[in-house]
């Protein structure tokens, strides 16, 4: 042990383990997390070649091997709790996304939240057993966060009771979904629904894209990898072009909106339900921001205690970098941010689970607030975290630039979260729409509740600085 870092630990004024328990949620959760970590870390099946020294194709190959092992081991150990699966996955693929992320994080949750019981019977077990490997294809080459602008069409044909899916333009080609390029054989495709001559907006459809046995692309499907990116080296983010692809009526996710066999359209109770999976992911991203900042600050602060350079007082030995006030000013606000975002992440997960429970009971009243809060906090935390990681890298001097520091990887793996699942400025404007709407309601005498209740006073002209 380096003597400087040893001495730092001896000087602490609080019990580290107690704080770890608070961050995990309880001592039992800390214990269980460590059990799961040691399962992975002591398992030779997960040993790997250092990805820093591999090509992209080799990195993808290694990641698929580890993901396949991961699925087997999760079954073997009977790990089925989503939090525990997430923890296991994070140990298998530290600091990076993996080829089955979209299958586990979006395809399965979308089925759970938006499929009818008949659809669950058809799709869930094959997906659970990876006969079906799925992804979530929403973004198009020319259209991202503005969902009403998506161009992919699903036109209902009552004569065959099928939907015909098309990518009518180049800009409508699905672009970016993780695992779409080479890994998945199914995709949940978001497309504009046309039936009885009318467009009913965006709906989700389960589309087979590759043969389950041979993995060859199916007729009418043009699919592939979009090429190297800034980070995300382990993932085959893909493109998908649909050319008159026919799928049965039962492949539209119909828990809420429906198309009857004759083509009649039944509206969902809330138009926002189609985007439920995105809200789920946005809620998770808040916690991911916290993790990225926590990792970066751990690296930068530990290194700043063992790194000795320059001098504060002439003739004295080189001090620890962390003794410089400027270094503290760079790193301690980042450390504080890591804690703040961790607690906000815990709150978002609890709030998402509570409101989703209400939705399942038929109460949609808090859905708009959840939408606004998850959009805003996703943008706020990812923007701040993105800058904070860079501050940590810069505070490590030249060595922060080396891939051995892990900071470049943390940065490039995290940065896309500012644009995926909703570009941040657009997210902020969505939150603003809710805030302005709430303000106007308060102004008209309506009593607001929840996190915007502070606007009750603003609406009635009572928000003013008070005199001393």
């Amino acid at each position: 042990m380096n003597p400087d870092i040893k001495r730092e630990r001896e000087n602490a004024t609080f019990n580290v383990e107690t704080l770890t328990n608070i961050l995990d949620g309880s001592p039992q959760k800390t214990k269980r997390r460590r059990e799961i970590e040691s399962l992975v870390l002591n398992d030779p099946d997960f040993w790997e070649d250092d990805p820093n020294f591999l090509s992209r194709s080799e990195r993808y190959d290694q990641a698929v091997r580890k993901s396949a092992q991961m699925i087997l081991k999760l079954r073997e150990y009977g790990i089925s709790d989503p939090d525990e699966i997430y923890c296991y996955k994070n140990c298998v693929h530290p600091n990076r996304a993996e080829p089955l992320d979209l299958h586990l994080g979006m395809f399965l949750p979308t089925l759970l939240n938006q499929a009818t019981s008949e659809q669950m019977d058809r799709f869930f077990m094959p997906a659970w057993n990876l006969e079906i490997i799925g992804t979530y294809a929403q973004t198009e080459m020319g259209h991202g966060t503005h969902l009403r602008g998506l161009e992919t069409t699903a036109t209902y044909d009552p004569s065959t009771q099928e939907f015909v899916l098309n990518s009518p333009t180049i800009s409508s080609i699905k672009w970016w979904p993780g695992g779409l390029g080479k890994t998945s054989n199914h995709a949940i495709v978001l497309a504009q629904l046309y039936t009885q001559g009318k467009c009913h907006g965006l709906h989700a459809f389960i589309v087979p894209i590759r043969d389950i046995k041979t993995h060859e692309p199916l007729p009418g499907i043009v699919v592939g990898d979009i090429g190297p990116k800034f980070g995300f080296n382990e993932i085959d983010n893909g493109f998908l072009k649909l050319e008159n692809v026919r799928i049965p009526r039962e492949n539209m996710l119909m828990k809420y909106a429906k198309v009857e066999p004759d083509g009649a359209y039944v509206k969902p109770p809330s138009s926002k339900l189609t985007y439920g999976t995105m809200v789920f992911i946005r809620s998770l991203i808040v916690g991911t921001s916290a993790k990225a900042v926590a990792k970066s600050s751990t690296i930068a602060i530990r290194y700043s205690t063992v790194r000795r350079q320059s001098e504060i007082r002439p003739g004295q030995p080189e001090p620890q970098i962390l003794d410089y006030q400027t270094q503290q000013y760079k790193l301690f606000p980042v450390l504080a941010m890591a804690y703040a975002f961790t607690f906000v992440g815990q709150y978002m997960t609890q709030t998402y689970q509570r409101i989703t429970g209400d939705i399942n009971e038929g109460d949609f009243s808090e859905l708009p607030e959840l939408h606004a809060l998850s959009a805003g906090l996703k943008a706020f935390t990812t923007w701040a975290a993105n800058s904070a990681i860079e501050v940590c890298r810069m505070s490590c001097g030249g060595h922060g630039y080396s891939r051995s520091s892990a900071l470049p990887d943390i940065y490039t793996e995290f940065t896309p979260s500012c644009t995926y699942e909703g570009e941040n400025t657009v997210m902020m404007l969505q939150t603003a729409r809710y805030l302005v709407k709430s303000y106007r309601l308060a102004k008209n005498g309506q009593q607001l509740s929840g996190i915007v209740s502070y606007l009750n006073d603003a609406g009635r002209g009572r928000v003013q600085p008070q005199t001393v």
Binding site: E37, I301, Q325, F332, V468
Partner: protein, 193 residues
Amino acid sequence: SSRPIVVDVNDLSSLVEVYKLRAAILVELAAKNIQQDMQRRKSEEDAWNNNAIDLVKASDAHCHYVVVKLFTDKLGEIGDTGVHSVLSTLALLYTLHGIALNSGDFLQAGLLSVPQMLQISVRIKDLLSQLRPNAVALVDAFNFTDRTLNSVLGRYDGNVYDNMYEWARRSPLNSTEVHKSFHKYLKPLRAKL
């Protein structure tokens, strides 16, 4: 009134209140600007686009308030004195640092005065010194294993330089003492010069 409200820069609940007022004022400002534009016969959509910067600022202030409030609320759940004390210091730093970075909003709205901003800047420096002895313990509490952190600089044992040297030695460029490019390009080039 243009005079600031009473704010104790050491009192978190008072600071949360200031963040709340800042958010409310910025939301109100954005909403009023949209309203004014609409009264000048602009469509609601154009009025919205014309005030998009204010709207993003309002959302940002709202989110900042939510973060500060949740951090402060969390402190109420922590019973251990040592942990409570160090997290309170962190929460205060986060809150004051946010005010310092967005001082224009707080000053413009009359929520804080210039002398208070100077007081905040001094207080931030106090908090940095206060946190210094606990910095490593605070990151240790995140409890990342060396394998999950995967960083030579962030190693738990702090033995950075010898491991960095070892890591560099594993670079594929070092698999042979003389790289093939020397024979392919540099040596023939030399012969031609």
